[in-house]
Symmetry: D2
Subunit: 384 residues, 4 copies
């Protein structure tokens, strides 16, 4: 087993939620090691957070710029292998751009940036530097999502006619942003969250899930966005009709005010030869209804799954894996990409299975187009 990759984290300090999830995901397989950080935009909190995580003082920074400067001063063989950016959305862009331009591999949370202009700048920067740039659309790391992708791509359900994707949560059903909920606070603030609320926060996962599994490209969309909770400035519920370039139709639903729902992301794909259904809250199952025989329940860990699903599996069938393992799988893909880049070679087939900066940029465009459609009088909005 090779030495673990060294990473620095920007964001994810005390009181943050998702940074700890990223760290647990990276710890799971023992292949990545946190060595440096600038864990908060507040320098004091940043350093206190770094001490919590046993970071050495000289790599525990109050500002991300100091982290970058410090890393660049170190000899390459002691430098971090990549940076992991888990700040609120508005900070993604400057940090990611600076590290990418400095030739450091980047993993950034989603949605990637506030604007397509920014996203394209990141595409160019990482392209110019030849570096890996992963975006943590973590749900793509589930083995059964990869199985679905393989089945759709290989024609197991024929040509896709209809896609239904939904992502329903209920945690913003009341005005929790006024009650000190830090996650709710920045997500409902346009300055930090961006153009969109629920569509950006979770709708972007839904868009990515469809694109990852089916490869379909959106031709036009028609959106209805609503802010239900009084005083809320960004959408907390959104519904879209979609037309794909192959003629398929889609429905994308998202809500953060669906009271009683937890994290109900699901995907259904209907093709000429059958249908697939997957649900994040029961992630070890993939339902396959062929047109000409009984429904099948594919389970993670089974020997008859595709290579990509089996590679993304640690435990035997019936020993469930879940959210953290899926998250970790995205990181394992990134790690393979970095290993290959460090070895000066392209990834082998099946290696480096992770969402890239291109996925991130498409997600930003999705958010922009959705907001444009919802705001326009003529509802159907072309993608191009």
């Amino acid at each position: 087993m090779m030495r673990p990759l060294r990473y620095a984290m920007v964001g994810g300090g005390r009181d943050a939620f998702i940074g700890g999830v990223h760290r647990q995901a990276m710890a799971l397989d023992g292949r990545m090691q946190l060595v440096a950080g600038a864990l908060s935009s507040d320098p004091d909190k940043a350093r206190a957070s770094g001490r919590d995580l046993h970071l050495p003082d000289d790599r525990n920074h109050g500002r991300w710029q100091d982290l970058l400067d410090d890393e660049l001063r170190r000899p390459p063989d002691q430098r971090i292998d990549f940076v992991c950016i888990v700040t609120p959305n508005h900070v993604h862009y400057p940090v990611a751009l600076a590290f990418a331009e400095a030739g450091i591999h980047v993993v950034c949370d989603k949605p990637l940036t506030h604007t397509s202009v920014e996203a394209q700048a990141l595409v160019r920067a990482s392209g110019a530097a030849g570096t890996v740039f992963g975006v943590t659309y973590n749900y793509t790391g589930y083995p059964m999502v990869r199985q679905a992708r393989e089945m759709v791509r290989s024609g197991a359900i024929g040509e896709v006619r209809k896609v239904v994707v939904e992502y329903h949560q209920g945690w913003l059903a009341t005005q929790v942003e006024r009650g000190g909920n830090k996650q709710a606070d920045w997500r409902t603030d346009p300055a930090r969250s961006g153009l969109a609320g629920a569509i950006g926060d979770i709708g972007s996962h839904a868009e990515n899930l469809v694109a990852t599994v089916t490869g379909l490209e959106i031709e036009a969309l028609c959106a209805d966005l609503t802010a239900f909770v009084p005083g809320r400035r960004l959408d907390d519920d959104g519904n879209l009709l979609l037309r794909y370039r192959n003629g398929a139709r889609g429905v994308l639903m998202t809500s953060q005010v669906a009271a009683g729902c937890e994290n109900d992301l699901s995907l259904r794909v209907h093709g000429t030869l059958g249908s697939l259904a997957w649900r994040q809250e029961e992630p070890n199952l993939l339902l396959h209804a062929p047109i000409d025989g009984p429904r099948r329940v594919l389970t993670r860990g089974s020997p008859w799954l595709c290579d990509a699903a089996r590679r993304a599996t640690r435990l035997p069938a019936g020993h469930p894996e879940a959210f953290l393992e899926a998250f970790a799988n995205v990181y394992l893909g990134v790690a393979e990409g970095i290993r290959a880049a460090q070895a000066g070679r392209a990834p082998l087939p099946g290696e480096a299975d992770y969402p890239t900066v291109h996925d991130g940029a498409r997600g930003v465009r999705f958010i922009e187009k959705t907001v444009e459609s919802a705001a326009s009088a003529a509802k159907w909005t072309d993608w191009d």
Copy 2:
């Protein structure tokens, strides 16, 4: 127990599907008795079908007009109590109008008519005659649908914010209408099916289910209809965004080409205080997710259900009831309405729980507006 109501059936002869279902539903509780019929538009087939059902010769007619004439000739105490119309869609209107104008109670299948003009004529005719006019939106007969209605109407989930209703079938995923499937043949023929395909056939059930459970009124809708199967002239897939007058948003999905799906009608209602979910293929359950406590699974037959749900139940909890029983419940409601009318009184509270000609007319308008929206350049179409 009072004598069974006597009914005549128009349509529903040999090779028909739904007529037999209506007859089984009516037989279940022993409260209705088939005494006359004009069971097909083909007089020979009509009479042969009547003989199959042991109809006496003098009430076994080749044409529905003969049936009507014959009944009117009989003394009132020997006449049918109501007529049941289960023909293809295009025949509903003339038959229903003639019987209603003759002062005979009517039960008619859905969608009620091809046009709102016709539907309004039926509203007027039955109104003028003071007769009962039921429309067999059979899914409203499920006890747990009635429980959902009670819970929404009584505020158990607060103010409704979002409704998701879907009806996915797969039986038209291939060109079965070319292969001798009689059900597919007329449903895909504009002359017999009307303006719409799937939206008329099953989308109308979805519309009715929402209206029945929530009472919400559509303010505007935005529809995308598609005919996927080559050569098909009517939509076999449709998706709508909906805005309701109270500010709620909705998504209505329907398909008859969702390969591998059977009869997957489901409803979710999200309110400020919780959510409800019901699925026709598991009709004995109603899921209730309150905002402030664990999810609850309400089961048919439980003592804590509302009166309307308990009245619609024959068997104890755990002894499942299903499609036919729900269908029968609609007829029991119609029967109560007829009994009350015959007694010259209004139905008592809780009695006569069935979809009326007004539901039928609203359903026709829904179809028209959906087709209008799908065909228009400006997609959002106002209801009024």
Copy 3:
């Protein structure tokens, strides 16, 4: 369609529960018609109940003996085709014996009799008369139970190694027999219920379900019976280990004090090549887990089911059928048997699919052996 079969009912009057279920099941398909009855052991209640059901006075009897006498006096072409016995258990035997000896076809509820001696007398009587004798183990009428039977018998899951059958209810979890619950009252009274409580009432269904589906024969059993509710004289909970003649092992569990359970009868069969699972509360599904591929969910109404399952189906897939339809299927099988007998021929292959007096007698022996095992010091009790 032939004329409906005429039947008389013994038991099933006002306040009874299961009689009405039998009548609804028989009404469903329009093939059986109630023409006579002795609907209660209380003559006045019997006649009042018959009037409720519109029985003519001359066939509405106060005593079952009068019913039998009256029928025998009628010319054969006006006589009932069969009698349906739905009394409490202790009355089954004398009524069934009398009618069978009189050469009248019989349908009797389960458990058949209080003792094997009585059961064997019924076997002999109906054998001597050459009459049909059906026992309403109604759960065998479910299409997916018949599909399971076909799959096990044809080797789809290989040789059976293990069977787990359970039947859990909760309605007797408290002392309801003291509170006026008529169903609870006689079921907990040894004089009317027989040797056993839950084991007789519902354990016998479980035994029959295993035998029907697998054909396995019990070699020995080891039982533990308990009366949990204070003051109860018959078991309200029972658990058995089973050994079958082919070497398979079994577990049979039953309870009527499993608080919160409704009517949770389920069967799992594990063979060398796969497993099957069926659950009465979701009766339209049969789960099949083959050893060498993904799990399959077989659904009622699918074209790939066996003949017996398809014959037992009225509605298309996705239009659920349930308890009453299954019950009706048993009666349809009986009717085919009677038609064949009346025509002086053996039933055709696939016809006359119903549990017979032999099933009933085996069920009585099961109850006796279970009680014997539970009472003995040496627990394993041989069947023979």
Copy 4:
């Protein structure tokens, strides 16, 4: 955050399965660090395995005795905090005894030992040394198991009347031990596995799950054990009837030849006021059926769960946690126990929630008594 605890591992080298699972579980929360090992009984493989895991050469041993000697030579502040024993069953005892007698905290896999005599020696040794001794009954680490425990113990379902626990797997349905399956090889060998096969390997988990959740004590048991696969010397299927000291009854089923089953451990507890059901393959749910209201589905991460369940949770509701997280929870409990011991204090309320050597010893007795019952002529075997 305190420094991670240092641990050594015995067993768990190349080709082993469960050792890696233990390491991942311990890595998850960053609170334990592997620093030493004797990872195989084959010294060369042991050292190669240690190099895979980046163990320093001086703490990478070929024999567990060398590991122990080396640790004892080190100053206490550099010594391991605990040893983790993940060898095949027959090696547990000597290793655990040696480390416990040396005053080192121990975590050992289950079943603890081959005999009760050995198990009691471990109880005494760890008691004498005052050290922590955890046994990795990992399923007790699931939050919803802890919720079930709290609900049963606090009386939410009243007095327990019946327990049904089952653990069905299918991976030994064929003679895989002859085909090079290392896991199957030692588990089916009496010399390495012990007295029992499936009952020891997975039945012990089932026994522990009941004891953990309910606290019920077995009074007597009646077992039927079978080796279905030709040539197999240990049971691969077992079924037990149980009587508990409080009068409750139980059924325990286990199989490793239930073809098509994966890792189907489930528990149902029926009390006077309601029932609970939990299933390992859907571990984020706990079903609660109260006697007097609708069923409830409790979900991990909800604010209304008990403290113990919430402490065992990392992610919000709807972000599923699974097998590894549950495993990690057991280790977190052990870690709290060790921290407390190192601080010379008793654990605080709610701390140190893990199965101990007493659970392990009871599990060994369960195996012995089960085998005794299955082998005896008089089947019911008293626990004492």
